[in-house]
């Protein structure tokens, strides 16, 4: 009667793993790394499917927002502020900046809202909850990938010869992803406790968009503000991508490395923070 597809008859208590819940510290033996990863994939795939489900063009819509941004901000920056590519074709340069920024912004901002959005599910069933704030960033990789395909096309049309250095783009992108996930893990629980953040953070991100060399080249930054280019991980990542893909030079390994290490330290800290407060999230939702 017991077909192999049926749920297994449970093992006796003596062989079970125990979940222990205490105030402030809980022990949950059920969140294996593999299961968490699988759930994260499934969750990111679900976000992508859900996002473009009702749209006829599906994937094309992934590009509409960055294209619109490039057209609008590109006009403002090139025609009014007289921004140039500083040796690179402006359109390609701006596009490289936009796709990286969109990636970062989506992961951080939607990541922050994610726990609030998923309140219903979180308060009813336990699953590796860290998946929730990491989902938007993971899904954003798809948009970024598509963005890079377009970048290669546009750059080739604009006469850029893409060389071997282009493979190095994964390094600044990985560094940017670390920062994105670290901030999502910090902001998602914080926003639950401090709802004001949901208004403040989008504002700060808007500020960050203009403070980072997205629509302009890093060389436009005046001398007295050069720290903006070296201390800002988004600026460093975007410049790294531009160097690798468009300028045909190897990126600044040292600078990217420093930001990567700093990002990893932050990621470890915010991951720990998340696990320390995750049990209290549901009560505050």
């Amino acid at each position: 009667m017991e077909a192999p597809s049926r749920p297994q008859t449970p093992a006796p208590v003596a062989l079970q793993r125990w979940t222990v819940l205490r105030p402030g510290s809980s022990k949950r033996p059920w969140a294996s790394a593999a299961a968490t990863r699988e759930l994260l994939w499934e969750s990111a795939a679900r976000e992508l499917r859900g996002r473009y489900k009702q749209n006829v063009g599906k994937g094309v819509w992934m590009l509409v927002q960055p294209i619109a941004m490039v057209l609008i901000y590109g006009f403002v920056f090139t025609q009014i502020f007289k921004a140039t590519g500083h040796g690179l074709p402006y359109l390609s340069m701006a596009w490289a900046g936009i796709i990286c920024w969109q990636f970062f912004q989506h992961g951080v901002q939607i990541g922050m809202f994610s726990v609030i959005f998923e309140a219903g599910t979180l308060s009813k069933v336990w699953f590796p909850r860290v998946v929730v704030p990491l989902t938007p960033g993971t899904a954003a990789f798809a948009d970024l990938g598509l963005g890079f395909v377009v970048l290669f096309l546009v750059a080739t049309v604009q006469g850029v010869s893409i060389g071997i250095t282009a493979v190095a783009l994964v390094v600044p992108v990985a560094m940017l992803a670390v920062w994105m996930f670290a901030l999502a893990l910090l902001l998602a629980p914080l926003a639950v406790f401090l709802r004001d953040l949901t208004s403040i953070v989008p504002l700060l991100l808007r500020l960050g968009f203009f403070a980072s060399p997205i629509m302009y080249s890093v060389f436009e930054i005046p001398e007295q503000f050069s720290w903006l280019a070296t201390w800002n991980p988004v600026a460093v990542a975007v410049t790294g991508v531009r160097d690798a893909v468009l300028a045909g030079v190897w990126p600044d390994w040292r600078l990217i490395g420093i930001h990567a290490v700093a990002g990893l330290v932050l990621l470890a800290a915010t991951y720990t923070y998340f696990t320390r407060v995750e049990d209290r999230l549901v009560d505050a939702l």
Partner: protein, 439 residues
């Protein structure tokens, strides 16, 4: 980390129910004994009564600190306050109990008694404010059916994602896909977005998935009130089957009559405390009587029940019972009707038919027009075959308003003899006759 056994948390006794020995309430943790009003000796020995505990709740309190909302302090990691803040409402107040491996336990109590909080804590969704909870194995909550479904996505896509939430790997899901889809009965609509589903279809899909997980512990919250009759019957059967296969089941419902066939044991919560713990036949009638008294206390003077008499006062399951009494009203009681109270709830009793447990609700009001006509009524009603298993019950007459609120009741103790197994073959049939006496 703690992959091995943790024997210090096993309560005494070995699994299996050797029929010898006295039946007793299981130990409630080594910390302290829970206070019971009275511990009645059950007449039968439910399965897994002495099984080692798979859920240990020790001195657990849970409160919600609303003052912390919007404060930076709330966002800081670290131990929350050890004392409940002044004025906080305790959802659970120093509750302790153990649930044995394989037991099927119903949790009852009024709204706000802490039932849902207890389930949330066992599900691991939130942590206790005080005390400790230990749970052996995985938990599948059927707390809400259609959990985490995205209305824009198809049934298939939603199943895949929700399976992940329940800890089912893609491989396991693929293996059980057929079973799940068959059970849900929505195979025809699997490729449609779930926003086009009826609530019954969502419920069936969610239940089908949750009931096919590998979890050792199944939590059921008010599932018994969702869906149509056929779905309720099949989900009850499914819950019973999961329990028979050795899963621990915990059921929270206000539908008291559904509990006796499903549960070996009932835990009653009141204001976050465990106030009773025992077999259904003991705890549920006590609870119903206590509730009825509350109503009766602020009952009105317009209706009286007197001279209630049971014949016989002890009877075997399936036996015949005659209830007699006088109901007297001074005014027509609009919206009220007279019912036979049997065991628990009005004449609302669960009936089991055949072997695979058809559960059905029977509501048999007496045909007395007390809602239109004042007067004094002599009532005699006969229940042809009693749908109750062995234990101590009450039976009598009651007047209820709007089918739910009891206006007044008068009941007498009724002893059902024999063993629980007889229960399976019973149908209810109510015969009554009444006549109006002169006021």
């Amino acid at each position: 980390m703690s992959a091995g056994a943790e024997p210090e948390y096993r309560s005494g006794g070995e699994e299996g129910d050797a029929a010898s020995g006295e039946l007793s309430i299981p130990e409630v943790g080594p910390v302290e004994q829970v206070e019971f009003d009275e511990v009645a000796e059950p007449t039968i020995r439910p399965p897994h009564w002495d099984a080692p505990a798979s859920i240990v709740v020790r001195g657990v309190s849970k409160w919600y600190d609303s003052r912390n909302r919007g404060r930076l302090r709330a966002a800081l990691p670290g131990r929350p306050s050890k004392e409940p803040p002044p004025g906080a409402v305790l959802a659970l107040d120093d509750a302790s109990f153990e649930i044995g491996d394989g037991q099927s336990v119903g949790i009852i109590g009024n709204n706000g008694a802490g039932k849902s909080t207890a389930l949330k804590l066992i599900a691991g969704v939130t942590a206790p404010s005080q005390g400790e909870i230990r749970v052996a194995g995985r938990v599948a909550s059927m707390i809400e059916l259609g959990l985490g479904f995205n209305p824009e996505m198809t049934g298939r896509e939603n199943l895949r994602f929700s399976a992940g939430l329940l800890g089912m790997s893609r491989r396991v899901l693929a293996k059980r896909w057929e079973d799940i889809v068959d059970f849900s009965g929505v195979a025809h609509a699997l490729e449609n977005p779930t926003k086009t589903y009826s609530s019954g279809m969502l419920a069936r899909l969610g239940f089908a998935l949750a009931s096919h997980s590998d979890a050792e512990i199944i939590l059921v919250d008010e599932v018994l009130s969702v869906g149509d009759f056929d779905f309720q019957r099949r989900s009850l059967e499914r819950i019973m089957k999961l329990n028979r296969e050795g899963r621990t089941t915990i059921i929270v419902t206000h539908n008291l009559s559904a509990l006796p066939p499903l549960c070996h044991r009932i835990i009653q919560l009141e204001k976050g405390r465990v106030v009773a713990d025992g077999v259904p036949g003991d705890v549920i009638p006590e609870y119903v009587l206590a509730e009825a008294e509350k109503y009766a206390a602020h009952g009105n003077e317009e209706v009286h029940i007197s001279d209630v008499e049971l014949r016989p006062t002890s009877v075997h399951p399936g036996g015949r019972l005659t209830v007699r009494g006088v109901i007297e009203t001074t005014e027509p009681l609009v919206g009220c009707k007279a019912v036979v109270r049997l065991g628990m709830g009005q004449a609302l009793v669960a009936v089991m038919e055949g072997d695979d447990s058809l559960t059905r609700l029977v509501d048999e009001p007496l045909d007395i027009r007390i809602d239109r006509q004042a007067g004094r009524w002599q009532v005699e009603a006969t229940v042809e075959s009693l749908p109750l298993f062995a234990g101590d019950y009450v039976a009598g007459l009651a007047v209820v308003r709007d089918d739910t609120t009891e206006v007044i009741s008068r009941t007498m103790p009724l002893d059902i003899l024999g063993s629980r197994d007889d229960w399976m073959k019973i149908r209810v049939r109510l015969e009554e006759n009444h006549q109006r006496l002169d006021p």
